[in-house]
């Protein structure tokens, strides 16, 4: 045990008054006296003398403390009553302007302030009471080793051994093996039920690879749901686009002549989570990648809006640089270069949707996406 540990703890109930100063020691403050032994380590000097507070010695101060504590409790009562009054008298949705905080809902603000007052009054009162009027002389409690006495420990081991002996588990391996096996697998039914029942795992591979897009679907603005003519897409503009028919009720059977290829049984949000597309128009000369230009129409290009990193919508378009930026983790894609990643944690380019125009001049998909959209998954390339 170290020097501090070897110091005999003072009696738990008596207040130690520096028990080590007996008057016989060499006082180290006044220099070393030659030939006198000095200890290896300093000795714990014991608790310093207790200082009395104002309230301990002055009845006036004690009375003052009492009044302070009582006032805080009274403030708490004011807060509670204030809360109740506000609840029954102040109408909802009444806004007031308070400097620094701005426009606040009056009722909500009063609730918070009165409740804070009600609680803080009690809390501060109790703590002030403890600090000024309750005893502040420190009390010493002894510690004991955490470990149990040796005979208790031996007792546990003996009992376990006797149990093993009496149950004959050591002598009857058949029971041991069979019992162990039974206990080892009894929880499997619950696990299998849970894992098997949680999700349609078989669908994952198919659904992650496809989107709602297919050849011939018109590009529709969202949320207006208008088809888009090529000449409406002005230079530098950007459209948030969804495939025609994406809002159709998934439960409704496909109409005759309108056959969905994929995602027809998914809900609208699930379709949107994969099918969202950004439509931009760039000057033809701006394109570095000829594929990007060829898959577009007169400089109008469509790219998946779902980030190839973690799947956030790539919501920010920088008109001047033709960069797309994902607001979640700042992956940056270069539209002129087929949306390759130029910065950030994403690895893959945004997939491009090949587009053209139909007989009426509206933009349509020339095909579905050629690769899975969104975050990577293990079998993406298989």
């Amino acid at each position: 045990m170290n020097a501090t540990g070897s110091h005999p703890g003072p009696d738990g109930h008596a207040r130690p008054e520096n028990p080590h100063v007996t008057g016989n020691e060499v006082s180290l403050d006044h220099g070393h006296v030659a030939g006198v032994e000095v200890a290896d380590r300093f000795e714990n000097p014991g608790l310093p003398p207790h200082k009395l507070r104002h309230a301990d010695v002055d009845p006036k101060a004690a009375k003052r403390a009492e009044i302070q504590v009582a006032s805080m409790f009274a403030l708490s009562i004011v807060g509670t009553v204030g809360f109740l009054v506000a609840y029954f008298t102040i109408p909802m949705h009444k806004y007031v302007w308070i400097p620094w905080f701005g426009n606040l809902d009056l009722l909500h603000t009063l609730f918070g302030v009165f409740m804070g007052l009600s609680l803080l009054g009690i809390g501060l009162g109790a703590v002030h009471w403890a600090k000024t009027l309750m005893p502040d002389a420190e009390v010493v409690e002894e510690r004991h080793p955490i470990a149990s006495p040796q005979d208790s420990r031996q007792g546990v081991i003996d009992t376990l051994g006797r149990g093993a002996e009496q149950s004959q588990i050591g002598r009857r391996p058949l029971i041991k093996v069979a019992g162990g096996a039974a206990l080892g697998i009894f929880a499997l039914p619950m696990v299998v039920q849970l894992v098997g029942g949680l999700g349609p795992m078989g669908e994952a591979e198919r659904e992650l690879r496809n989107t709602f897009w297919r050849k011939g679907l018109r590009l529709m603005t969202d949320p207006e749901g208008r088809p888009i003519k090529a000449e409406d897409v002005t230079m530098g503009s950007v459209y948030h686009v969804l495939p025609e028919g994406i809002y159709d009720d998934p439960k409704q059977k496909p109409n005759e002549g309108q056959v969905f290829e994929h995602d027809q049984d998914l809900g609208v949000l699930e379709r949107k989570a994969k099918a969202a597309v950004l439509l931009m128009r760039l000057p033809s000369a701006a394109f570095v990648s000829s594929k990007a230009r060829d898959w577009g129409y007169q400089g109008i290009v469509a790219y998946s809006k779902i980030c190839t990193h973690a799947g956030c919508p790539v919501g920010l378009y920088e008109q001047q640089t033709h960069h797309l930026l994902c607001p979640c983790h700042q992956s940056t894609f270069d539209v002129t270069n087929d949306c390759e990643v130029i910065f950030g944690p994403a690895r893959r380019a945004l997939p491009q949707l090949k587009i053209t125009v139909d007989s009426q001049g509206y933009l349509i998909a020339d095909d579905g996406f050629a690769e899975p959209v969104g975050p990577s998954f293990w079998t993406r390339k298989r």
Binding site: G12, P135, R143
Partner: protein, 604 residues
């Protein structure tokens, strides 16, 4: 009833007075009154036998220090979150079912949304005091995680995780992880655009798990993202599953605190074998009970005045739009920041399969690794030191320089990741390029911890040297004394035994020294290989060290002072300047001539 209580008051008053009179601890008086327990207490005790344990708990002594309140804040905010959470369940509808909003918040009227989002709006706008409950719940949850984190930092830097408290450290680590998960599940429930984006990212990194990713995602979401299952599943995890585990572990955490008794900072009269502080009755009952109300009151004030998570401003979740500066709640910031810092080339193909380490490293790898390292630290340090003793006295952080430096290095790495989660905000507010900020933080992630380690360790050693100086020479008074010969001295005031004790009580362990790693036959001893590693770590931990002042050091120092002062009599300076004065040579007015003893450096 009135007479009983008034006579009890009188007794309590008398007890308090007698306390003041001869300054005795209150336990003696508590023992006197416990003989006359009331009828109800007897009734209960005869059926439960609770008097023994209750008396034990009421007499329990807790040491006082502001940093011990951090754990209390965590406990109280947890209680507030539980309480307000129960209230919220009375109105919240945990369903992704699609409805049209017809509540009183005009901008969203007539909009399609989930029932979860609509009911959150109803709580905010159509339930009287509902918004207050939401705000209380969210703020108390933020306080909860922050307080656990700060509490863990306090425990780490003071070495309170050492034997016998290793298990409690591990429990605390798991509690911190669970608190983060609980918080994430909670703020995802309103199904607004921001929280939905958080779930989207979660889906992204689940999908990135090698081999099982896409299946795992379909299991969790019950099909394609987002689906209608995730809200009810998160809900039951948030209101039952995780809280049940948290409460269970919290109870174990608290029971172990009672078993171990609280640690205390070193000081005069405080030893490894005692606890010096105040008993539960009445002092801690009032202080800790009052503190619950203070924490609750502060959270109520903040809830009333500072809006957090105004979900009505974000709109309902839709996977195709997004808001700028999408950030998670602060405690998930470090993981989000890690995702922003990881470079894209960490995604690659291996035998035709896609491995997205750029996502996986910052999420499904980072979280378990961080919390495993944290949980394992006490065992690592115990292995290095080989220390098998119980430790109930805390370390001052400076007296464990390597541990403190490791902690600061870890905090620096955490801080860099945390800052990275706000790289877009920093770019906007400071007018800097987001690319520069991100690259700088990438470099800092590796460089920062090293710098923090070195600087912290040097600071700790310097502070220890300063302690040595102070213990040896006393407090510098700034008073200069000129002798008749024209020599100058600065008067140092000696420390009292009590003040000195704080500076000299600690240990400065020496690095281990081990025998050769071969056995008698000259073969390499398998155990010695481990020992070599241990030796290396021990040197890493303890080679640079400063010994605490011993009585012999102090005696030598005084002897030295006496000879240098020769003709000076301390009584000439009014008697209060005795000892410790030292000569200040020309041009070195603030440096000490005397080389401190007991200083060891690896450079030797």
């Amino acid at each position: 009833m009135t007479t009983t209580s008034s006579s009890r008051n009188a007794r309590a008053q008398a007890a308090a007075d007698s306390l003041r009179a001869d300054d005795r601890p209150p336990t003696r008086d508590a023992g006197k009154t416990s003989g006359r327990v009331g009828g109800l207490a007897s009734w209960v005790d005869e059926r439960t036998g609770a008097a023994g344990p209750v008396r034990y708990l009421m007499n329990k002594v807790f040491p006082d220090h502001w940093s011990f309140m951090l754990g209390e804040v965590a406990m109280y905010s947890m209680i507030i979150a539980l309480l307000t959470g129960v209230f919220l369940t009375f109105w919240f509808v945990p369903s992704a079912g699609h409805i049209t909003y017809e509540g009183s918040y005009v901008p969203l009227k007539g909009m399609g949304m989930s029932e979860a989002y609509a009911s959150t709006l109803d709580i905010s706008f159509d339930v009287r005091g509902g918004l207050l409950l939401r705000q209380l719940h969210h703020w108390s949850a933020l306080f909860f995680v922050a307080a656990i984190g700060l509490h863990a930092i306090r425990v780490f830097f003071t070495g309170a995780f050492r034997k016998p408290r290793e298990i409690n450290w591990v429990i605390g680590t798991v509690l911190l992880l669970l608190a983060c998960i609980e918080g994430f599940a909670g703020y995802s429930l309103p199904d607004d655009l921001l929280s939905g984006t958080g779930i989207r990212v979660m889906e992204g990194f689940v999908e990135s798990s090698p081999i099982v990713g896409s299946w795992l995602s379909y299991m969790i979401f019950g099909g394609a993202f987002p689906g209608e299952y995730i809200i009810p599943r998160l809900y039951i995890a948030h209101v039952l599953l995780v809280p049940a585990i948290i409460i269970g572990l919290f109870t174990a955490h608290l029971l172990l605190v009672v078993v171990h008794k609280h640690t205390q900072f070193p000081g005069p009269g405080k030893t490894n074998n005692n606890v010096v502080g105040f008993p539960v009755m009445p002092v801690y009952a009032a202080k800790a009970g009052g503190f619950f109300f203070i924490v609750f009151g502060i959270i109520a004030l903040i809830a009333g005045l500072v809006a957090i998570n105004p979900v009505w401003m974000y709109g309902p979740y839709d996977p195709s739009p997004v808001t700028a500066d999408s950030q998670p709640d602060w405690y998930m910031g470090f993981a989000d920041g890690a995702l922003r810092l990881l470079p894209g080339w960490l995604e690659f193909e291996i035998f035709g399969y896609t491995l997205s380490l750029n996502l996986a490293l910052g999420s499904i790898v980072l979280l378990p690794v961080v919390f495993s390292l944290m949980g394992a630290y006490p065992f690592f340090e115990a292995w290095v030191t080989g220390d098998k003793r119980e430790h109930h006295l805390l370390d001052r952080p400076r007296n464990a320089p390597t541990r403190t430096a490791i902690g600061m290095a870890a905090l620096t790495a955490y801080l860099v990741m945390f800052l990275a989660a706000g790289n877009d905000l920093m770019a906007i507010k400071m007018g800097l390029s987001i690319n520069d900020i991100t690259r700088t933080l990438q470099v800092l992630f590796f460089l920062g911890p090293i710098i923090a380690f070195v600087v912290t360790k040097r600071l700790c050693l310097s502070l220890q040297r300063a302690d040595r100086e102070k213990a040896l020479h006393g407090r510098e008074t700034g008073r200069i004394v000129r002798t008749p010969e024209g020599r100058f001295f600065e008067a140092h005031e000696p420390l009292s035994d009590f003040d000195r004790w704080n500076l000299v009580q600690h240990e400065a362990p020496k690095p281990l020294e081990l025998s050769a790693g071969t056995d008698a036959m000259g073969n390499v001893d398998a155990k010695a290989v481990v020992s070599k590693n241990r030796l290396r770590m021990s040197k890493f931990f303890f080679t640079d060290r400063v010994e605490p002042v011993t009585p012999a050091d102090l005696a030598d120092q005084h002897h030295h002072d006496d000879t240098s002062m020769l003709a000076l009599d301390p009584a000439d300076f009014g008697g209060d300047l005795h000892g410790g004065a030292e000569e200040l040579p020309d041009g070195r007015a603030y440096s000490h001539q005397h080389q401190p003893h007991g200083e060891h450096s690896s450079k030797h």
